[in-house]
């Protein structure tokens, strides 16, 4: 079963535990500026929104890469950057409509979410279950359940 990240911004408190878990997994330090997942704060609106790669099926970044450095992970379905092949041309960062592929000036390579190889650390770090890792074919299940719960099934209701 393929799984995907499912984000419910309504549950996010903006604590950045996900960003730290991501940077620790990928960079070995607690460093939110190096995280592949970002939480955006909309102060006036009073909301926090985590955002990261959705692992598009027809991935623009993958098609745009001139050196085939972005490949499909057969197990998780994620689109992974092969660092050894990446030449840092940044075309993928332009191609991605969502901005979730970014250049890392320290390494001269691009970085993006790779689902931590199937055990996404942001998910286990999130204290409110705003980020979950669920069956890719049923990411809407929670929302459906919430609406279903509101259905009035009393007689004559």
């Amino acid at each position: 079963m393929q799984k995907s990240l499912n984000i419910d911004p309504g549950k996010c408190t903006g604590c950045l535990q996900c960003e730290m878990a991501c940077s620790l997994e990928n960079e070995g330090v607690f460093n939110t500026s190096k995280s592949r997942i970002k939480v955006f704060t909309f102060h006036e609106e009073g909301k926090f929104v985590p955002y990261t790669c959705t692992q598009c099926d027809e991935a623009w970044c993958m098609h745009a890469c001139p050196v085939d450095a972005i490949v499909v992970n057969a197990v998780t379905g994620s689109k992974d950057v092969i660092s050894d092949l990446c030449v840092g041309c940044k075309v993928c960062t332009i191609a991605c409509p969502f901005g979730t592929v970014n250049y890392n000036a320290d390494s001269g390579k691009v970085v993006k979410c790779d689902l931590c190889g199937g055990d996404p650390q942001c998910v286990s770090a999130c204290p409110t279950n705003a980020i979950t890792y669920v069956d890719a074919n049923a990411t809407g299940l929670d929302k459906m359940r919430q609406w279903a719960e509101k259905t009035d099934n009393t007689v004559g209701g």
Binding site: T13, G14, C15, L16, Q17, M20, A21, S23, L24, E27, G28, V29, F30, N31, T32, S33, K34, H43, E44, E45, G46, K47, F48, A125, P127, T128
Partner: protein, 618 residues
Amino acid sequence: MAWTRQILRVNLTEGTCIAEPLNMDWANQYLGQRGLATRYLVDEIDPKCDALGPDNKLIMATGPLTGTMASTGGRYSVITKSPLTGGVACSNSGGFFGAELKSAGWDMIIFEGSSPRPVYLNIENESASLEDASEIWGKSCWETDEVLHAKHQDPQMRVACVGRSAEAGCLFSAIVNDLHRAAGRSGVGTVMASKNLKAVSVRGTLGVGNIKDPARFMESIAAGKKVLAENAVTGEGLPALGTQVLMNVINEVGAMPTRNMQEVQFEGAHKISGEAMLEPRASDGKPNLTRNGGCFACTISCGRISTVDREHFSVKEKPQYWGNSGGLEYEAAWALGSDTGVDDLDALTYVNFICNEDGMDPITFGATVAAAMELFEAGVITTANTGGVELKFGSAEALCWAVEQSAVSEGFGADLNLGSRRLCEKYGRPEMSMTVKGQEFPAYDPRGIQGMGLAYATSNRGACHLRGYTVSSEILGVPEKTDPLATEGKAGLVKAFQDATAAVDSAGLCIFTTFAWSLDDISPQIDSACDGDWSPERLVEVGERIWQLERDFNMKAGLTGADDTLPDRLLKDAAKSGPAKGKVCELGSMLPEYYQLRGWTTDGTLTAETRSKFGLPA
């Protein structure tokens, strides 16, 4: 490890920014943040110096766990000599600024001297420079934040700054970071402004590493988070209702200081409580609370994100206040509400916004308005002083007027900005100031919670709930229930809370974790991150050393045992209602034992033996 081992020394007189290594001997004795910065302050300033003169220094300090994934590990403190109390000031703040500073590679910043012109400090990792602040001087904290973000074109930069109240010399000005988090008490913002330092902007992309034993650290912090999640207070009460979960609880036990502490229960408490913040309002069907929000790394998330009703008189003509911002915490709701007798939730939320916007401590501000209201009702202050405003208990209009005056120090605002002690002295009624060492009380009446009376009287920064929160034990039963009306055993209880709190603060963690965490939960998190032995026993020892050091500074600054007292109102006027009806605070039956436990003489001075036991500097 876990420390960056680098501190930034900024000489504002000379305009220099110089890196120097952290004193690791001191780090080993004082851990970090509150304790370690106090050690630097004690070493570097004359305790008798003018708090608002160039000889005072101001330190922004992180702890070893600041910037890590330990839950609540995002805190920093501001340590300086207080213009309000004349003793040591140490104000702790959350938000994201502290972690950003650590991630830029700095354990702390020491500001010394005074700049000849308004400046701000800009930090981008190892690069730090003083920049011209003429563009932001005279602006509020919110405008300053906006201008600096636009100027540096960096949305991820974090800003800590002072507002217009501090520039005008308000004695209880805060340093506000991330728009609505503050190093709030004791006038630390006033000191910052006195140095012509408007703001600190920081961007850190180095991260925090250097964890001694990463695997054990991750295990320890995961265990810690589990404890917080499963605890009723940190896992349910605080996320749902914030610290405002306390409003109805404290009112019921008869420890809710009301109308300048003349009473101990507020008839309007339910209208300004955490529960009331969830009630949909008539105008737009939305509740006051939009959602809860977390500080950096915090898995509790007690923070309130709120709006004011657009139809409310305070903001009806002011669309700039129609959006969300930091909502009411319990202490603010109490000081702005119960203590002034105002039960208008929207008015309190608006006043809280203004306190954040221009950097006033809402506890001291609210309590000072309460004192002014009592002076007004006693006929000491009249409409001639207030420019026609009826400054009466219960008046939401008067409260909103007062905060607008205070924010820019106009008219009667200049009087309010003295704080209640100087205000009441000015008008010849010092007994109406509800303060210890010149700092106003927080939201727990010591007639109904006896241990808090001792905690207030002996707090090193004046009346304060965050130096020894025995409410935990006396009301909530954490770690074990004690009788709030009894004095027996409270000396030991207060000491234990004071020492543990000093250690938790110094780690860079939030004291709210201790509703669920004991030192047994905290010790492994510090011990696995930092070089050295950080067992629970050692943390208690370090905490007590910090307490003794702060006390020693205060005594050298000119405070004495005679300052370890409470206003007569709390010692002589009995509570009028509730479970504590007929009770006064029996401080006299707790203080001598406390001095003894601390190793002080009967007049509250440190003995030579105590000084030597904790290795205090001469």
